[in-house]
């Protein structure tokens, strides 16, 4: 099909049948291996997988509790399996990484001013760590009591 070019305004390119070329630089699928910051970002995102794994194990444990003392004993025995311990260890470090990066985001998310000056990042993040300790001790106390 022949398309007749329309009369154009001065300086404006005429109609073309082709889509203009976009500038889209190709990013490698392995871009996150390009530096420690990128790798740290992707590891932080992957910590969520271990959070999900924790939920799955917890649901299995709740099901065992619901099924009675024998099922609970079997569940606690399964937790001693070396593969499960390995998963727990890995999960623990990933979740710690999530907690620390999450708490340290607080100063970026809110700039608190005191007497006209912005509070240092450490002061804004610190309450998170205090609360973390309090909550953790409370949970441990309830379980171990």
């Amino acid at each position: 099909m022949n398309r007749v070019a329309q009369p154009t305004v001065e300086g404006v390119p005429a109609y073309t049948e082709f889509h203009p070329r976009w500038y889209r630089p190709h990013v490698s699928v392995y871009w996150w291996l390009g530096g420690w910051r990128y790798l740290r970002f992707i590891l932080r995102e992957l910590s969520s997988v271990f959070v999900a794994a924790f939920v799955v194990v917890t649901l299995v444990g709740l099901r065992a509790l619901r099924n009675g003392p024998d099922a609970y004993a079997r569940f606690m025995h399964h937790l001693e399996n070396p593969a499960v311990i390995a998963l727990s260890t890995l999960s623990f470090f990933f979740v710690l990484f999530h907690s620390i990066t999450w708490f340290n985001l607080a100063p970026s998310a809110m700039a608190i001013r005191f007497r006209g000056k912005r509070l240092p990042d450490v002061v804004v993040a610190a309450p998170n760590y205090v609360l973390w300790l309090v909550v953790s001790v409370a949970v441990a106390w309830l379980v171990l009591r």
Binding site: E45, S47, T89, F92, H98, V135, L142, V143
Partner: protein
């Protein structure tokens, strides 16, 4: 992509799940994943845990502990696949699997805790 109106709500769930996971999940993994199986501490008996889990407040706590962090996972995992591995053509499938999984986990948690005798 999904509608922007959805995205704000899902981001709130992501954020709330991130807070719950950051404050509560480490101590749970430390106790049940490491301290009890490795014998650092004596594991609580069934007779001790059951009355605790029966308490309404603890049930709500456990429900939130299981449910909301799953939506945190759904959000992060979806974007890890999208940005990290650039799996962009399966966007709808991944969306459905992630949030469907989180919803399924929520339903299972609700069912287990509701029917806990």
């Amino acid at each position: 992509m999904q509608k922007p109106s959805n995205e704000a709500f899902l981001w709130m769930l992501f954020s709330a799940g991130g807070v719950i996971a950051a404050f509560l999940v480490p101590v749970h993994i430390l106790l049940f994943g490491l301290a009890f199986p490795l014998g650092w501490l004596r594991a609580p008996s069934y007779e001790h845990l059951m009355p605790l889990v029966r308490m309404p407040l603890v049930r709500i706590y456990l429900f939130l502990l299981c449910s909301v962090p799953l939506f945190h996972w759904a959000h992060r995992f979806r974007y890890t696949l999208f940005d990290g591995l650039q799996v962009k053509h399966l966007n709808e499938v991944i969306f459905t699997l992630c949030y469907g999984g989180a919803l399924l986990g929520t339903i299972i948690a609700g069912y287990l805790l509701w029917t806990m005798a």
